[in-house]
C-alpha cells in the first residue's frame, strides 16, 4: 500500500516537473511552478522558511519521504534503475552496504562551504533538483520542441493555429555537456546500486538523513517473524537493510516500501519507532537529534552572514577584473567589426539591382561584455550567484531565448542575458515567476521596466548610419523607455547624418536596441551589465 501510494505520487510529481522544464508556452509554470518551489535547497535559498520547516518536520516524523516523492532526481534514479533487466522480478538485485560516512559528510560539508563561498558551479553540479533540471532542459526539451515543431508543421498545413513552431536551440554547449555527464553518472550509479547517489553523494539527501535518523515513523523489523531470507535487503534500492542484524539505516531509507512488499512473512512494517529499536540507540538518537536540529536552524542565518563577506570579496575581484577586461574586449570588438566592414565593402561591388530574392542575414555574435547581464529581479550579480542553483528553469522558460547558462567558472550554469536571438520583452517576467530559489525575485512588469540591469553603449564604428550612410533609427524606435534619441553626428550640421545617443539614466538594458540593430554580426549598440541593478 505504502509502495503504491509512493509510486503514484512520484509519477505525478516527476511528470509535472518534467513538463515544467520542457514547456515553452508558459502554461506549465502556472500549474507546476509550485512544485519547483517545494524543493528543499531552492526553498532554503529563497528563505522560504515555511516550506523548509514543513519539509524538515515531514522528515522528522515520516523519514525521507521527500527523496521518494518530491525530489525529481530521486524519482529519476528509481526510473533509471528499473531500466535494468531482471531475471527474477520478485526478488530484487540489491545488497546491503554499510553507510559511507567518510564520503557522505565531507561532501555535505564541502557543499555548504561552496554555497557560503559563492562557488555556484559546484553547488549546481551536486544539487539534485538542479541536476534534474539540467537534464530535462538540455536533453528532453529539444526533443519536445522538435515534436511540437512537427505538429506545428502539420497544423500549418491545415491552416490551424493550435500549434506554433519554436526555435529549437541548445542554450549553451558546456551546460549541455555537463547535463549529459550528469545523466551518465547518475544512470551508471542507479544501474549498479539503485540510490547510491542519493545515499552517498547527494548533499540534500545527507542533510535530510541527519533528521530521518531520528524520525518518528520508520521501517522496522519484527525479529520474531523474520526468517532471514534476505529478500528485504535485495529489494532495498537504498542498500540500507541489514537482514542479518535486523537493522534499517533510517538515515538512508527513503521509505519506498519495497521491502515491506517483498517480505513474505510480514516481518517488516512502517510505524512508530519506540518498540522495535533498542533502548540505548533510542536514547542516543534523541540526544543527537537535539544537537542536530539546533545547528540546522541556525544554519540559514550563518549562510547569509558568511555569504555577505564572501560576496564582498567576489565583488571587489570582479570589479578589478572588469576594468582590466574592458579595453581588450572593446578592441577585439572594433577589430572584428572592421574586418566585417571590409567584407561588406567587397560585397558592395555588385551589378545593378535586380528584382526579387532575399538578402542573406548573418547571425549575430555576442559582444564581450565587461560585466555580464543578469535578469531583472536578480538584484545584483552577487545576489544571483549566491542564490542560484543552476537548475535551468529560467533558461528553459525564457520565451525570447535571452537567458542562457553562463560558462564562467564560478557561475557555471547560472543564467546570464544576451540578445542575439531576442530581447527582454516588456510584457514578460516569466523567469522571475518560476525561479524557486529567489535568485530572480518576483518582479512586476512595471517594476521591471524601471529596473536598470545594464545600459546601452553605442559603437560608432559599427553603426550603419555612419558606415553605409543610410538613415536608421531602429534602436531609437524600439526603445521601450525612450532612452535613445537620434542626434546629428556633427553638432554643427543639424540636417546631416543622425546617430543614436543613449540617455544612460533612462536605459534599462532590455537589449531591444542591440537585438534589432541592423549591423551584423556585431551590433552597433550593445548592453553593458550593471553589477548591482538600479531602479529609476
Amino acid at each position: 500500500m505504502l509502495r503504491r501510494i509512493r509510486i503514484c505520487l512520484a509519477i505525478v510529481v516527476v511528470l509535472l516537473l518534467t513538463w515544467l522544464f520542457i514547456d515553452f508556452s508558459g502554461i506549465a509554470a502556472q500549474y507546476a511552478g509550485w512544485l519547483a518551489k517545494l524543493q528543499l535547497l531552492p526553498a532554503l535559498l529563497a528563505l522560504n522558511f515555511v516550506v523548509v520547516a514543513v519539509l524538515l518536520l515531514l522528515t522528522l516524523v515520516c523519514g525521507r519521504i521527500y527523496c521518494s516523492v518530491i525530489c525529481p532526481l530521486g524519482i529519476l534514479q528509481d526510473l533509471l534503475s528499473r531500466l535494468r533487466p531482471r531475471k527474477n522480478k520478485k526478488v530484487g538485485r540489491y545488497t546491503y552496504s554499510p553507510e559511507v560516512r567518510w564520503l557522505r559528510y565531507p561532501v555535505l560539508l564541502l557543499f555548504i562551504v561552496a554555497m557560503v563561498a559563492g562557488v555556484g558551479s559546484f553547488v549546481a553540479l551536486l544539487a539534485p533538483y538542479s541536476s534534474f533540471g539540467r537534464i530535462a532542459a538540455n536533453l528532453l526539451k529539444p526533443v519536445y520542441v522538435g515534436i511540437n515543431n512537427i505538429f506545428a508543421g502539420v497544423a500549418e498545413h491545415y491552416g490551424s493555429y493550435a500549434f506554433y513552431s519554436v526555435d529549437n536551440v541548445i542554450p549553451s554547449w558546456p551546460t549541455f555537456v555537463v547535463a549529459v555527464l550528469s545523466l551518465i553518472v547518475l544512470a551508471v550509479l542507479a544501474w549498479i546500486g539503485g540510490r547510491t547517489y542519493c545515499n552517498t553523494l547527494c548533499p540534500v539527501g545527507t542533510f535530510l538523513g541527519l533528521f530521518s535518523r531520528f524520525s518518528l515513523f520508520r521501517v522496522r523489523f519484527d525479529e520474531q517473524k523474520c526468517r532471514s531470507c534476505s529478500r528485504c535487503s535485495k529489494a532495498c534500492k537504498a542498500s540500507c537493510i541489514d537482514f542479518k542484524r535486523h537493522t534499517v539505516d533510517a538515515s538512508r531509507c527513503v521509505v519506498c516500501g519495497n521491502c515491506i512488499e517483498a517480505c513474505e512473512f510480514g516481518a517488516l512494517s512502517y510505524g512508530r519507532t519506540v518498540t522495535a529499536s533498542p533502548a540505548s540507540s533510542a536514547h542516543d538518537g534523541s540526544g543527537a537529534g537535539a544537537e542536530a536540529t539546533v545547528p540546522s536552524l541556525v544554519r540559514p542565518d550563518e549562510t547569509l552572514d558568511s555569504s555577505k563577506t564572501g560576496k564582498a570579496r567576489a565583488e571587489s575581484s570582479s570589479a578589478t577584473e572588469s576594468s582590466s577586461v574592458a579595453e581588450p574586449s572593446r578592441r577585439s570588438f572594433l577589430l572584428s567589426s572592421l574586418s566585417v566592414l571590409a567584407t561588406a565593402a567587397l560585397a558592395q561591388e555588385t551589378k545593378i539591382k535586380m528584382d526579387g530574392g532575399l538578402a542573406d542575414i548573418e547571425n549575430k555574435v555576442a559582444p564581450e561584455r565587461a560585466t555580464p547581464l543578469t535578469p531583472p529581479g536578480s538584484l545584483s550579480a552577487r545576489h544571483l550567484a549566491s542564490h542560484c542553483t543552476g537548475c535551468q528553469l529560467c533558461v528553459a522558460q525564457c520565451p525570447n531565448h535571452v537567458l542562457r547558462p553562463s560558462s564562467g567558472l564560478l557561475t557555471l550554469m547560472q543564467p546570464v542575458m544576451s540578445f542575439e536571438r531576442g530581447y527582454c520583452r516588456p510584457e514578460c517576467n516569466r523567469c522571475s515567476e518560476v525561479c524557486p530559489t529567489g535568485a530572480i525575485r518576483p518582479i512586476g512588469l512595471d517594476e521591471k521596466s524601471s529596473t536598470q540591469v545594464g545600459h546601452a553603449v553605442w559603437l560608432k564604428k559599427n553603426c550603419v548610419a555612419v558606415t553605409d550612410g543610410v538613415a536608421c533609427d531602429n534602436c531609437s524606435r524600439h526603445c521601450p523607455v525612450g532612452a535613445i534619441e537620434m542626434v546629428p553626428l556633427d553638432p554643427a550640421d543639424e540636417h546631416g547624418t543622425r546617430v543614436p545617443a543613449v540617455n544612460e539614466s533612462k536605459c534599462i538594458g532590455c537589449g531591444a536596441c542591440e537585438n534589432l540593430c541592423p549591423a551584423r554580426p556585431f551590433s552597433a549598440i550593445y548592453v553593458e551589465g550593471h553589477e548591482v541593478h538600479r531602479t529609476n
Binding site: 545593378i352 530574392g357 538578402a359 542575414i361 520583452r425
Partner: protein, 472 residues
C-alpha cells in the same frame, strides 16, 4: 499535359460506357459529363489585332515575372538559379499549344534571370510562332548613359537568344529615382533622364527602322506627368508609340486614385490610349492575386452571381473586355493558373453592363478593407537588410481579409484573432525578416510601382504587432 488529361478522361468515359447497358448512347452521355471545366478548345483563344503591324496577339499574355521556383532546398541550377526551368518549359509549351503567343519579360525580373529562362523555353519553338516583349529596365543611374542602356538592350537579345524584339518597352516610366549625384528625381524628371535626354528613345526608334525592334512602347506607373509628356510627344508626332502598358483591373478602374493619391484611375489611362488608338497591354489584371483572394463575403457574392466561374475569372474577363486591349498579362506561376486563364479567354465572354456595375460594387467593398495595395511584384526586393517586404504585406492583408486584426483586447474573439495574427506572422515571415528589422533607410520606396510608402507601412505593421504582443 492537356493531351494526357483528355486521354485519361477518354479512358474514364470508355470504362463508364462499356459498363452501361446501352453502350453507344451511354458513352456519349458520360463523355459530356466527363468534360472538365478547364478542358478547352485549342483554337478558341480570343485574339486581338495590333493595328500598327497587323500582329494577331492572344488576349492572354504570359507575364514572365513570377516564374515557378524549385522546391526549397533543391540545388540551384548554375544557369537558371532557383527557377524551375523544366516547369517553365512545360508551361510555355502548354501556353503555345493553346494559342498564347505573347511573352512579356524584363532584364530585372526574377533576380535578373527571367529573360534567360524565357529564352531557353521559347528557343525550342519556331521564332515566328510567338511575340517577345522585353523592357529597358535602366532604373539604376549607372545605366542611364546611352551606351549603358544600349548594352542592356543587346544583353536582352543575347539572353533571349534572338536577334529581334517584337515589343520593346521603356520600363516603368513615371517611377522616381536617384541620379548619380545622389539627388532624388521625381517621376517626370527621372523619365526625361532615363529615356529622353540621353537620346535612348531616338536610338530605339532607329533600331525599329533597322528591324531589330518591331514595336516600341512604354509601361507606366507613378507620376502622371510622365504619362502626359510621353503622350504629348506622340501627339506632336515626335514618337509614335505602337502600344502602351498600363495597370487595369476592376479595382483600379475607379479606385486607383482613392487608394493612393499619386495614382490615376485606370478608366482615365485607358481613355487616353483609346482616344489615340494606341493598343493597351494590361498588367496587374489580378493585382498579384489580390483579386483572386477576396474575403468570404465577397467570394460568396461572386459565387452567387456565377457558381461555376472562378473568382479570378471575373478579373480577367473585366480586363479583357475593352476592345482596345491588345493582351492581358498574367504572371502564371502554376500550371493550374495557366489552364484556368486559358479557359477564361477561350473565348472571352465580355463583361456585360450589368456585370460591370456589379464588379464596381465589389471594388467598392474591396477598397473599404484598406488593404496595403502590394501586388508582390518584388521590385522592392531584395531589401538590403533582409526583410521580406511582400510577405509581410501579404500576411497583413490576409489577416485583414480574414478578420484577424483585432483592435480591442476587450472583444471576446480577441485572443483567437491575436494568436492567428502572431502565429501566422512567424509562419509567413521568418523573425529576422519581419517588419521590426526595417531601419527606414527608404531604399525600397522608389521602386514600388504602386507608390506604397513601404517604410511607413512596415512601421505601422510593426507598431501593431508590438501592441498585440504587449497586450498579450
Amino acid at each position: 499535359m492537356n493531351k494526357e488529361i483528355s486521354r485519361r478522361n477518354f479512358l474514364k468515359c470508355l470504362a463508364g460506357g462499356t459498363a452501361a447497358v446501352a453502350p453507344g448512347a451511354a458513352f456519349l452521355a458520360s463523355c459530356k459529363q466527363g468534360e472538365t471545366h478547364t478542358s478547352t478548345d485549342e483554337t478558341a483563344m480570343t485574339m486581338r489585332t495590333n493595328p500598327n503591324t497587323g500582329d494577331v496577339v492572344s488576349l492572354l499574355g504570359y507575364g514572365m515575372m513570377r516564374l515557378p521556383m524549385l522546391p526549397e532546398g533543391m540545388p540551384e541550377d548554375p544557369q537558371t538559379g532557383p527557377f524551375d526551368q523544366e516547369m517553365i518549359n512545360r508551361q510555355v509549351d502548354y501556353a503555345l499549344a493553346h494559342g498564347v503567343n505573347y511573352f512579356d519579360t524584363a532584364p530585372v525580373y526574377c533576380r535578373g534571370l527571367s529573360e534567360r529562362c524565357t529564352g531557353i523555353a521559347l528557343k525550342r519553338h519556331p521564332r515566328e510562332t510567338y511575340y517577345i516583349a522585353t523592357k529597358l529596365s535602366n532604373f539604376d543611374s549607372r545605366v542611364w548613359p546611352l551606351e549603358e542602356s544600349q548594352k542592356m538592350f543587346e544583353n536582352s537579345l543575347h539572353e533571349l537568344q534572338t536577334d529581334y524584339i517584337d515589343y520593346l518597352l521603356l520600363h516603368s516610366t513615371g517611377n522616381g529615382g536617384r541620379d548619380q549625384d545622389g539627388k532624388d528625381l521625381n517621376g517626370l524628371d527621372c523619365c526625361r533622364a532615363r529615356f529622353l535626354d540621353n537620346g535612348l528613345t531616338d536610338w530605339l526608334f532607329e533600331q525599329k527602322k533597322a528591324g531589330r525592334i518591331r514595336n516600341v512602347g512604354f509601361s507606366w506607373h507613378g507620376d502622371y506627368r510622365a504619362f502626359e509628356l510621353l503622350l504629348q510627344l506622340h501627339d506632336e508626332g515626335r514618337y509614335h508609340w505602337d502600344f502602351c502598358q498600363i495597370e487595369l483591373n476592376y479595382l483600379d478602374w475607379f479606385y486607383a486614385n482613392e487608394i493612393n493619391g499619386t495614382n490615376v484611375d485606370a478608366v482615365i489611362l485607358y481613355g487616353e490610349l483609346e482616344k489615340r488608338g494606341i493598343p493597351a497591354v494590361i498588367m496587374e489584371p489580378l493585382l498579384g492575386g489580390r483579386l483572386a483572394n477576396v474575403n468570404d463575403d465577397i467570394a460568396s457574392q461572386l459565387k452567387h452571381r456565377d457558381p461555376e466561374a472562378s473568382i479570378a475569372s471575373w478579373a480577367f474577363r473585366f480586363a479583357g473586355t475593352p476592345e482596345g486591349v491588345l493582351t492581358v498579362l498574367s504572371g502564371m506561376t502554376f500550371m493550374e493558373h495557366l489552364r484556368e486563364n486559358v479557359a477564361t479567354y477561350s473565348p472571352l465572354r465580355p463583361v456585360t453592363p450589368e456585370e460591370h456595375d456589379f464588379l464596381m460594387a465589389i471594388a467598392e467593398q474591396i477598397f473599404g478593407q484598406k488593404e496595403i495595395p502590394c501586388t508582390a511584384c518584388q521590385y522592392c526586393m531584395p531589401c538590403p537588410y533582409g526583410l521580406d517586404i511582400p510577405s509581410i504585406f501579404a500576411h497583413y492583408n490576409k489577416c485583414l481579409r480574414e478578420g484577424n486584426t483585432p483592435q480591442s483586447s476587450g472583444s471576446p474573439t480577441y485572443r483567437r484573432q491575436r494568436r492567428a495574427f502572431l502565429v501566422g506572422y512567424d509562419r509567413s515571415v521568418p523573425r529576422l525578416r519581419q517588419a521590426s528589422h526595417c531601419i527606414g533607410c527608404g531604399q525600397c520606396a522608389p521602386h514600388c510601382p504602386q507608390q506604397i510608402d513601404i517604410p511607413r507601412e512596415l512601421r505601422r505593421i510593426d507598431d501593431y504587432v508590438e501592441k498585440l504582443k504587449r497586450e498579450g
